[in-house]
């Protein structure tokens, strides 16, 4: 991840209340949680900094009301942050004029909404073509492009339907097609699948991964479902009361949670599918003798082998060099951390 960041947020604040700016100043730009409670201000986003790199899927997680939507709305300038800096490809987004902002949204950003946000009076085709229409594309051009997008999300044949005639999953496909119509660089998704039932949600997640393999967008994805987060995300940021508590890969988060809040989140995580053998192996060296496991293998895949062996098994990297060892005890501790304690 040495490429320059696509999006960087620096010390971002979004405060709701009668005079947010004044409130921040009064408390030396760093109000504490007690200050918010005392003066009845809501600190929806508090001093959040992070980077998103090109082609990465960054997941933002947190309980309801933790400020996820407010954060994404600040980055898209759907609401104006109280304080801080947002760089988009190195340009200061908060300095953008209304005209520049409209231009950015017309060409660089796409967004998918939890409740779809489809225009009820327009057909599927016209909904998907809407962002192109708004930026002044000719009918022919925008409808061709919209049809491509509709095909991409697997809705061909439904072009003339109206949103009310579609199921929730289909409506969200329309939402996705619409957000992709302008070929955005950056793709924001605010709990796109939360309103769908579990089976459809699963299907839509697969769909999302398929699309991302094709398109390689830079993605900020909000969810409150940890399973969804680890299934889709390259890195996960966890928010609590407006603060970003931890930002890490799923594996780091599971193996080294920053605090109890994060630990609670990761408690039911499918560790066997997140942790790699390399992360839980000891650094001791045992002879490599036919049976060994790759450091990058998920522990779930190595479990049968390790648990059935009485001795420690060598762990090797991609070049076949030994990097450590793992035995039955370590494997069990990694799989069942609560049981071990």
């Amino acid at each position: 991840m040495t490429a320059p960041a696509k999006i960087s947020c620096r010390h971002l604040w979004k405060i709701f209340g009668p005079d947010p700016q004044g409130f921040l100043k009064r408390h030396g730009e760093a109000p504490k949680d007690e200050d918010f409670a005392r003066e009845n201000y809501i600190g929806a986003v508090r001093d959040v900094s992070f980077d998103v790199y090109p082609g990465e899927i960054l997941i933002i997680m947190g309980l309801s009301g933790s400020g996820k939507s407010t954060l994404i709305r600040a980055i898209t300038r759907l609401n104006d942050p109280t304080q801080g800096q947002i760089l988009l490809d190195g340009n200061d987004l908060l300095k953008a004029t209304p005209a520049e902002l409209i231009d950015l949204r017309r060409h660089k950003m796409g967004m998918v909404f939890q409740h779809f946000g489809l225009l009820p009076h327009r057909s599927v085709l016209s909904n998907v073509a809407f962002p192109l229409e708004v930026r002044g594309a000719a009918r022919e051009e925008r409808e061709t492009r919209a049809r491509e997008m509709i095909k991409l999300v697997g809705l061909e044949g439904r072009e003339d339907y109206f949103p009310r005639e579609l199921s929730g999953g289909q409506q969200q496909r329309v939402g996705i097609a619409r957000s992709l119509a302008v070929e955005p660089d950056i793709w924001f998704l605010d709990e796109p699948f939360s309103a769908l039932d579990p089976l459809i949600r699963r299907e839509m997640q697969d769909e999302f991964l398929r699309l991302q393999k094709l398109l390689r967008k830079t993605i900020v994805f909000i969810t409150h479902d940890f399973d969804e987060a680890i299934r889709l995300g390259d890195r996960i940021g966890i928010m609590k009361d407006g603060r970003l508590v931890q930002l890490a890969t799923p594996e780091d988060m599971v193996s080294a949670p920053a605090d109890d809040y994060v630990r609670e989140f990761t408690r039911n995580a499918p560790r066997d599918r997140i942790l790699t053998v390399g992360a839980v192996a000891s650094r001791e060296h045992v002879p490599v003798n036919g049976v060994n496991v790759l450091a990058s293998a998920k522990i779930g895949d190595a479990a049968a082998l390790v648990l059935s062996s009485d001795k420690a098994i060598a762990v090797i990297d991609a070049d076949g060099k030994p990097v450590g060892a793992i035995d039955r005890k370590r494997m069990i501790a990694a799989l069942y951390p609560d049981g071990a304690r």
Binding site: R73, T76, L78, I102, D103, L104, R105, R106, H107, M109, G110, M111, F113, Q114, H115, F116, G117, L118, L119, P120, H121, R122, S123, F130, P131, E133, V134, R135, D160, Y161, F162, R164, E165, G175, R178, S179, V182
Partner: protein, 650 residues
Amino acid sequence: MTSSAAVVRPAAARAPPLDLIAMVAVLAALLVLAQLVPVFDKWPEALVIPVRGWVTDFFAWFAQTAKPVTRAIAWLLAQPLALVEALLYRGIPAWKWPPLPWPAIVLGAALLGHWIGGRPLALLCGLASFYLALFGLWPDAMQTLAIVLVTVPLAAISGLLLGIWATRSRRAERVLNVIFDVMQATPHMAYLGPVVILFGFGQVPAMLATLGFALPPMARCTILGIRTVPRDVIEAGHMAGCTPLQLLWKVELPAAERTLLLGLNQVVMQTLAMAVIASLVGASGLGQKLLFSLQQLQIGKAVEQGVAITLIAIVLDRMTQAFMRRNPQRIAPGTPWVRRHRYLVAFGVLVVVTIAAARMFPALAIYPKELTLSYGGPINDAVRWISRNLFPYVKPIRDSITIWLLLPLRDFYLFLPWPVVIGIPAMIGWHFGGWRLALLPVGLLGFLMLAGFWTPLMLTLYLVTSTTVLCVIIGIPLGIWAARRPLAARIINTVCDTLQTFPSFIYLIPVIMLFQTSDLSNVIAMLAYATVPAIRFTYLGLLRVPQATVEAATAAGATAAQRLRKVELPIAFPEILLGINQTIMMALAMVAITALIGSRDLGQEIYKALPGADTGRGLLAGLGIAFIGIIADRLIGAWAQKRKKELGMG
């Protein structure tokens, strides 16, 4: 919040007796004071402030000064009206052009109905228009329709623009809200005075008065519609890169379509109601004919004309409602132009064919007089029969109710010293909403007293309170009944729907037939007009009581009566209060109308002020009615709010 509500409740349960005792004590003191100091009994004539004269003078001056402007406005408005009138019934005599043949309009209405609402609506539209021709009301009806057709788009567009403005600026919204509150609480008739002085008599002033009355509901619906567009939809618009104007035209307004169409429905209904009432300022058309018939007690004719107005109202109402419910339809790609626009094509063909046919058969051009029917005769006979055979029985009932109930009540109202009258709503206001709400009745009623409207004010209050009490006594049981029995609900709903589409004038016809002119006639006309909301809101309030609560009460062993009294009614109470509020508003609106059959209240003041162009008298009396409405609205609103909070629903 929940904990504070829990704290408030026992206190509130104990507080009323204390408050009540204090209030009664204050009132008693005021009564005694009135006996000792005459100024505190009746406000002396000599101390009346001549506001009324000032207003009249101001309007006279303003009319003189603004004459070029008002002339220009009147001329501008007259043009589209002339065009529509030429099309509908007048033709262009100078060029010897006939108007549209009547079958074109009748069938065109049916076609429009079919497009909007399918076969049933087509039938309704066609038959209703044919009624107008068959009973010889065609030119009058077309005159009224012309006013409606020209005013509706004007009112809708200006209301829309004002509404949009209000959603863009909080301050504008606040100001407009206050203005609209007053405008909507002022009876239709009170608009006529200023309009007459500025624009004279005739169709155009009628249009202007109509415009003023029909505009607020449209603006309100626009505000509501835009504000209730889901947040996701608006944000999707922003993210698509909409400019503010694109957002408005392509996202907000289309997404708010249904509420906007509801506004349009209101505009149409208000316009028709006003077009009828505007006959008082010389707007010709059905309303004027009906007014004449009523004044000459030609009940048969009045019924024919009343039915025509009602039919027009029902048709317009059903059309706009059906339009509101329509969903955009999928159009298969490759549908040919003619098929996609088949209604337009059919209408074009219809016009061409009927015009050609009308050349050959003049009966198709103008509906011939010889072919008109009338059922006025039999009705007149019936009325005569009633007044000969029934009235002798009705009269003693009417007179005894009047003598034993209404007159003593009226005298009681007139006896009350002014501090008591103003004090009661002030104390209620103070109890529910603090001193701000207490000052409202003091200010408004005090102003009316100072301006010298005390007696008509008290007579209005007397009529409105008696009507309201009767409405509650009749309406709430009906609402309860409807909530119990689905069949009853269906019947009552249909009746209420129909009653609500009748323009208020219509209610005078049967009342005059049965009771002739008297206070009781006024009360009954108001009653017939104003009971609907009391029924409706009771019914809806009871329906909204959570099922779980009702079941819990049943499980606890409550009998049906106990459940109603202890569980359902208290929970539905805030809703019922709102219904009573609506009832009061409608009774007040009717006050002005009943002036036509004789009364001595504020409505009569408005009516009497019209011919003499006594703008001050008419306008202030109109405001007086509006003030009563506003006070009732605020007090009841505060009460309902408080109850809701205590029930944890607010």
